[in-house]
Amino acid sequence: MKLEQNRIYIKDIQFGDVTAVNNGILTVNKEEMINFLKEDPKVKDVKLDIARPGEKTRIIPVKDVIEPRVKISGGKGFSGVTQTTTQLGDGIVNILYGAAIVTVGDIVGFQEGVVDMWGEGAKYTPFSKTFNLVVDIEPAEGLEPHMHETTVRMAGLKAAEFVGEAGRDAKIDETLTYDIGNIDEETKKYPNLPKVLYVEMLISQGLLHDGYIYGVNSQLILPTLLHPNEEIDGAVISGNCVAACDKITTYQHQNNSAILDLYAEHGKTINFIGVIITPELTTLQGKFRSCDYTAKLCKTLGANGVIVSEEGYGNPDSDLLMICKRLETAGIKTVLITDECSGWDGASQPLADTTPEAVAVVSGGNVSHVVTMGPADKVIGNDKAIATLSGGWEGCLEADGSLKCELNAVIGATSEIGFHYCTAREY
């Protein structure tokens, strides 16, 4: 598959008469965008706001982050979700690089988070560096929780497509080409390079705990093989799942750093042959099925090395280590990416499971690491939500507006696809 990503560098977002990009400034017609999103009768109201890097702005409770893009050729948008189903991974896509859509609104569950655009909090979230168009979605009254989540998820994706359209005819600043042929071709080109697969585990447990592949809920799949281009072209989206710190937002799927960093080594030190999406199920039989099947795919495809990333913590730690055990036993060298739950003091055992085969593990940091983030000049959303979010507690919003909370509540802080920079070290 060959995918050309055209980047249009975005240096600011402003509201204006038209939704367009000029000289790196993205203007958005507020009224048109709100009316477009309100076409869904389940959306009662929408508010739009802008948060820029360095501004003393706090966004909370954040559900998802999405990169605005428009597909020029080779399939359409979020295939199987907002658009009819088409094959993704080939063709040309224009990207408003540096911009992001951030969805907030009435809390659906405890797994939503905070993004600070400045100061201490900004260090812990990758989305302090993007120009964020914040979409505050008020759903129609009486929606049951699953429908509420679906409504805000779809509104966020549609918002990203609406804004992404502005990139269709904009001036392109940079083009990146992602081109990997079929396994036979690549192995002929690089006969001596070890074959590497990336296994991406997705939480698959119900409300606020699902991922979607071409619109299919990951709960319903057997582990499945993707070409790396498919995911970075929008085939995988977030169901707004898990604690904010290690949920894989849609933006992180579109820019999956594990895929991109493996791509960078393709043809140099490795032969990157594909991505396996694996559901993290809650039943023991489900875990055995997923883990056996994942290992079988890796063996069948002749992988020499595998990177496995987790989503969430707790019971999925078992899936992560079960996959590792199976792969290492089959002689496949395995590196895991996870995060840790070692308590406020960092003194507790960091994982919920253990296996001696897990000898190469990257840590995204301790989800219970407590940070204090100063008072914001502007809060987009509702900072009182922190009291009930994972990682917050009653009283953690202090009288002066500063926020003391665990990284649990900070979007993307301990990313287990390795999207961010945190790690844990023993002291």
């Binding site: 990333s309 994982l351 301990t414």
Partner: protein, 346 residues
């Protein structure tokens, strides 16, 4: 100029060997033994204002009395820091250094420092709380230990950031702290994988934890006479969450009187952040089956359902907190004569 008070045993205090191990603590307003060598290391920035000496046997056999004397001296002398040892591999001396440094830090909030050989039993008594400089196993290592202790002491006095154990020379404290790395996680993972594939050295960022194993209790012989308690980590709490239990990474547990109700449905809901709550909120008994236990009680299958239901959130909750909660809840249940527990997760 910072003021440091020094603690040593009878041997390093130049009073005598094993025959003097029973001496009571005493205080001298000068540097004695290692305090002198230590003073050289911090010269110009800090000075040792006095030396406390106590027999190792006396300290370990009369801990309270010894600490009372020592703490009083420290309160009178008002040092900025207390340094003890190094104790090398001397076990009783190590326990005394641990006892003094932990007490001073906890009760007076002063910075403290000691030094020991890693197998000294005193290490386990204090390393998670105070800095213990890693030393050789005998006094021959004094000349290597004191410069490391002096450097670390000055950093602690100035409140400077303390680096990694290997860099600063102290024994790992078993605390995993979150820091910002130079490369993003995925790049570090790819580099680690490439190193493995080419048989080059690599270092895991997370050594696998070692788990406790719990031996199951003996079976209950006659269930029809047994009192059974219901305990859950599924975050089921009364509406409004009166005790404000966290939705993840719980810092506390709650207990609620269920003696007058036949099911949790209606009065309870879940605040757990780790699963789809919709079905638990419809009927919380799906997570914590009070309804079935009450039926069993009526049918005489079990003797009695214990009057209180215990609950917390399991997701992201540190094992340290779980051990604390389990110990506290277990103690209450044991004292109340409960014979068995149904413990549910999610």
């Amino acid at each position: 100029m910072y003021k440091i008070l020094y603690y040593v045993n009878q041997f390093f205090g130049q009073i005598g060997g094993e025959d003097k191990a029973g001496i009571e603590p005493e205080f001298h307003q000068k540097s004695i033994g290692p305090a002198m060598g230590f003073g050289v290391q911090v010269k110009g920035q800090a000075e040792v204002i006095g030396t406390l000496i106590c027999g190792d046997n006396y300290f370990n056999e009369n801990r309270e009395a010894a600490l009372e004397y020592i703490m009083n001296v420290i309160k009178e002398q008002k040092p900025d820091m207390v340094v003890a040892g190094p104790a090398f591999n001397a076990g009783r001396y190590g326990m005394a250094c641990a006892g003094v440094t932990v007490a001073v830090q906890e009760q007076l909030g002063l910075p403290v420092l000691t030094g020991m050989y890693e197998e000294n039993p005193g290490v386990d008594a204090c390393k998670t709380k105070v800095y213990v400089v890693k030393t050789g196993n005998s006094a021959a290592a004094m000349k290597d230990a004191l410069p490391v202790m002096g450097k670390l002491a000055l950093k602690l006095l100035k409140g400077e950031e303390i680096g990694k154990p290997a860099e600063e020379g102290y024994l790992p404290q078993g605390r995993r702290l979150t820091v910002i790395a130079d490369e993003r996680g995925s790049k570090r993972a790819v580099d680690m994988l490439v190193a493995r594939l080419y048989d080059k050295p690599f270092e895991t960022e997370l050594p696998m934890p070692v788990f406790d194993r719990v031996t199951p209790a003996a079976a209950i012989k006659d269930l029809s006479k047994a009192t059974i308690a219901l305990v859950t980590t599924g975050g089921i709490v009364p509406h409004g969450n009166p005790d404000r239990i966290q939705s993840a990474s719980a810092q506390k547990w709650g207990k609620y009187d269920v003696s007058k109700i036949d099911e949790l449905k209606g009065d309870y809901y879940t605040i757990h952040g780790g699963y789809d709550p919709v079905y638990a909120n419809e009927k919380p008994d799906r997570v914590a089956p009070l309804d079935l236990l009450k039926e069993y009680e009526k049918e005489g299958v079990i003797g009695k359902v214990f009057e209180y239901f215990y609950t917390t959130t399991g997701t992201g909750t540190a094992v340290g907190n779980s051990i604390k909660f389990g110990t506290e809840i277990g103690k209450e249940l044991k004292e109340a004569g409960v014979d068995g527990v149904i413990l549910t997760s999610t």
